[in-house]
């Protein structure tokens, strides 16, 4: 079906789309929705902890908020937001027309969306998961959580995990196989390298959590005893399997942010990335070492001297490539012409806050200190500095940076700066006192604390900071929807960028590139605009091409049906009595849509 047909609009074109740009936009919108949900859960928790012995929410609700805030923010906000950037920008940055398997790309979005709904479905029938986002072993067993809450958590994560697994294979093949002529691996933009490492981490770590969740589900429903001490099961095995997935997972959350920051800093300081190949090797080192440090989450479970020493050393070792990246970012900015747009402010705050988070991480990389920090608010402060001050800030920077490319309009700079400062100050006011709470011994996941503990002041300060951040979120929402209609017009090269996505008009045509671009070096587009010593050049005129003879894969409704089938198959546990038939129905839908899918013409 030729691409000459007009840019379809209307709901049906969005449901059956296989265009990586539309899927990227849908990922972003879904992530914003869940960001609101996760943020609300955080506000509820902070309100409960505002004063000691507070009864704003019951212990049961608080444990649900702790669990769902963690699970939602990690699996339904940061990963999909990174996926939104991967989806939208990978083909544009490597000069391809679309991803390797467009329908598979649509499938992974729909499975993610239905998985997110399944994960949160507990809210409607008061079965919200309460076992912590890590769901340690035998608290999640049937004996100690007899209702369906753990099943919503386990099945929801299975489905969302499957979506990420399919997407990771898709993007892994796209990056390695579909780069434009001349773009060798070491000439790709840095964001593509962090994308590639993230996909490898996803591909290799997700099967471990799939098996662990399967074992928990079998324990709860089919009487097996994998994690039940009474039947010879081992409770520690769950922690091992979860963290073998868990630690690569946190690098999956931070690596895309590192890639985005590398793109933003280079553009707004008009300088190439300092030490490109060193940045590539350190990203790969972080990815590879990510698999060798998992047990630093388990120092207090009595691993024995040699294992504790090994994992302490490996955790410290990971600080070296991370430190190298931070110094390289500072050297990128060094000697440049820094423009403090909102996107750049977010990227710079990423470097500042991620450094701080990384350093507080090194403090409890050594096991004896961790035996004082583990499960206290010091660890909460550490990972919020790295995940919120790091990943979320960089992702917001990415939104401000690529909004003009996606919509053809700039986001408003003044509202942007207001949001930035609300986030920056609110973030530090919330999470920096948590270091003090941690040192003063306040344990995590406590729904309240006694009056005589001396933690009242800093908890109060942290809660106030959280409200400031919420206001910042509202300012962002206003800015986002206002700029959609009334933002200043932006042409193709909105920020005088350096990578291929700025060479095409914004919003780009459905077929991205009329003629496949050829690239001779890294930041090729920059050296078409400026010579090596900075004199302005006349960029070559784009050749003519006939858009009609560009063949694009047609829309297809099979992805959404297959995704629905998988989710229905996974929700057999939640229907009393006829659960088996619900699952069989789901499996039937899956089989039918697989065959329908494969017989669909290209």
């Amino acid at each position: 079906m030729s691409s000459a047909n007009s840019q379809q609009t209307g709901l049906w074109s969005w449901i059956t789309t296989v265009d990586h740009k539309k899927i990227g936009i849908m990922y972003a919108l879904a992530a914003f929705f869940f960001l609101v949900v996760g943020g609300a859960e955080a506000i509820l928790m902070r309100t409960q902890l505002l004063v000691p012995n507070n009864d704003f929410i019951t212990a049961r609700t608080f444990n649900s908020m702790v669990t769902m805030h963690g699970t939602t923010m990690i699996f339904l906000v940061v990963m999909p937001l990174s996926a939104a950037f991967f989806n939208y920008l990978t083909p544009l940055m490597i000069g391809a027309r679309d991803v390797a398997f467009p329908r598979l790309n649509a499938l992974s979005f729909w499975i993610f969306l239905f998985g997110g709904i399944l994960l949160n479905f507990g809210f409607f029938i008061d079965q919200v998961p309460r076992g912590g986002w890590f769901g340690y072993a035998n608290l999640t067993s049937l004996q100690y959580t007899p209702d369906l809450s753990v099943d919503f958590w386990a099945m929801g994560l299975q489905v969302v995990g499957l979506a990420s697994l399919i997407a990771s294979v898709n993007f892994f093949v796209t990056i390695l196989n579909m780069r434009c002529k001349g773009m060798t691996l070491l000439k790709m933009p840095m964001f593509m390298w962090t994308n590639l490492v993230t996909q490898v981490l996803l591909m290799l770590s997700l099967p471990v959590i799939t098996i662990a969740l399967l074992m928990v589900t079998f324990d709860r429903h089919f009487g097996t005893g994998f994690f039940i001490p009474g039947e010879g099961g081992s409770v520690i095995l769950w922690q091992h399997l979860f963290w073998v997935f868990g630690h690569p997972e946190v690098y999956i959350l931070i690596l895309p942010a590192m890639g985005i920051v590398s793109e933003i800093l280079t553009t707004f300081s008009k300088k190439p990335l300092f030490g490109y190949s060193v940045m590539v090797y350190s990203s790969c080192a972080i990815g590879f070492l990510g698999f060798a440090v998992w047990a630093h989450h388990m120092f207090t479970t009595g691993l024995g001297p040699w294992a504790t020493t090994f994992f302490s050393a490996a955790t410290m070792l990971i600080a070296v490539p991370t430190g190298v990246k931070i110094f390289n970012w500072i050297s990128t900015v060094w000697g440049g012409r820094i423009r403090f747009t909102t996107a750049n402010l977010f990227a710079l705050s990423f470097v500042a806050m991620f450094t701080f988070g990384g350093l507080s991480g090194i403090m409890h990389s050594s096991a004896p200190i961790d035996s004082q920090h583990q499960d206290t608010y010091f660890v909460v402060a550490h990972f919020h500095y790295v995940l919120y001050g790091g990943a979320v800030m960089a992702l917001f920077g990415g939104i401000y940076y690529w909004f003009p490319k996606v919509t053809g309009r700039f986001m408003d700079e003044t509202m942007g700066k207001i949001q930035f400062w609300l986030y920056m100050i609110g973030f530090n006011v919330t999470f920096f006192p948590m270091h003090f709470l941690g040192v003063q011994g306040m344990p995590r996941r406590n729904y309240t604390y006694a009056v005589d503990q001396g933690w009242d002041l800093w908890n109060w300060v942290a809660s106030v900071g959280a409200y400031a951040t919420a206001v910042g979120g509202i300012v962002f929402a206003i800015n986002f929807f206002w700029s959609l209609k009334k933002g200043a017009k932006a042409e193709g090269d909105a920020w005088n960028g350096r990578t291929l996505e700025w060479t095409i008009p914004s919003p780009p045509h459905e077929y991205n590139f009329g003629i496949e671009p050829t690239v001779t070096r890294t930041d090729d587009f920059w050296y078409q605009k400026y010579s090596e010593d900075g004199k302005k050049l006349q960029p070559p005129k784009p050749e003519k091409y006939d858009p009609n003879d560009i063949h694009l894969p047609g829309p297809s409704y099979w992805p959404i049906i297959l995704a629905a089938g998988i989710t229905v198959a996974a929700s057999g546990f939640f229907v009393q009595g006829i659960g088996l038939y619900v699952s069989l129905l789901g499996i039937a839908v899956v089989v039918v849509s697989v065959y329908g899918w494969s017989f669909e013409e290209a």
Binding site: A100, V173, M178, F218, G233, S234
Partner: protein, 193 residues
């Protein structure tokens, strides 16, 4: 889909995707094997490994899966040399081999259940059934997949010689066979370790 695109690495997208899936499945079966190894001596009641494993039957099923793997390679070869009848014949042998393996596994599971080792009898039983069951599921999916290819070839005859589809299915089938080679050693031959 992306059937006829020349790619940077020269490898067809679908073949590259299948190898990535195989890389990912290494971790899947790695975790299952670790779980089996941790649990095999921790079962409290019910029969244990040495009592019920029948090495002769499992060696036969390993041999059968190997032959099915050989048949798959030959089918691919004849697809490339465009000899339709031979290709269809060897595809049939592959499907037959897979079915026989599933038959062996069905018989073995029934035999163990009669001996008192159900899924929830002991931790050893659950770990064993999860590992071999997951592999059995993969074999079943493979048999279904290659049967569909055989039916397509029978229906379309000479007009259809898509060696990429057969190669990708072949990769999956060989991987399933390779996993069984490891399982055969780890589960049945290391039973006295």
């Amino acid at each position: 889909m992306s059937a006829h695109m020349e790619t940077v690495t020269g490898v067809d997208n679908r073949k590259f995707a299948m190898w990535s899936l195989i890389a990912s499945e290494c971790f899947l079966f790695g975790t299952l094997i670790v779980n089996y190894f941790v649990k095999r001596n921790r079962g409290l009641e019910g029969p244990t490994g040495p009592e019920i494993f029948d090495i002769n039957l499992t060696t036969l099923s390993t041999f059968d899966l190997l032959m099915s793997s050989v048949a798959m390679v030959l089918a691919l070869h004849y697809c490339r040399t465009k000899e339709l009848r031979k290709m269809q014949a060897w595809l049939g042998v592959v499907v037959l081999g897979g079915a026989i393996f599933l038959g062996f596994q069905w018989y073995e599971f029934n035999h163990f259940v009669n001996l008192g080792l159900k899924l929830d009898t002991s931790v050893f039983g659950s770990a064993f059934y999860m590992l071999t069951g997951c592999h059995g599921l993969h074999v079943a999916v493979g048999v279904l997949w290659i049967t569909s290819i055989l039916i397509t070839s029978l229906r379309k005859g000479e007009a259809w010689f898509n060696d990429t589809v057969i190669e990708v299915a072949g990769l999956y089938w060989h991987f399933v066979d390779v996993v069984w080679i490891i399982l055969f050693t780890v589960v049945y031959l290391f039973v006295y370790i």
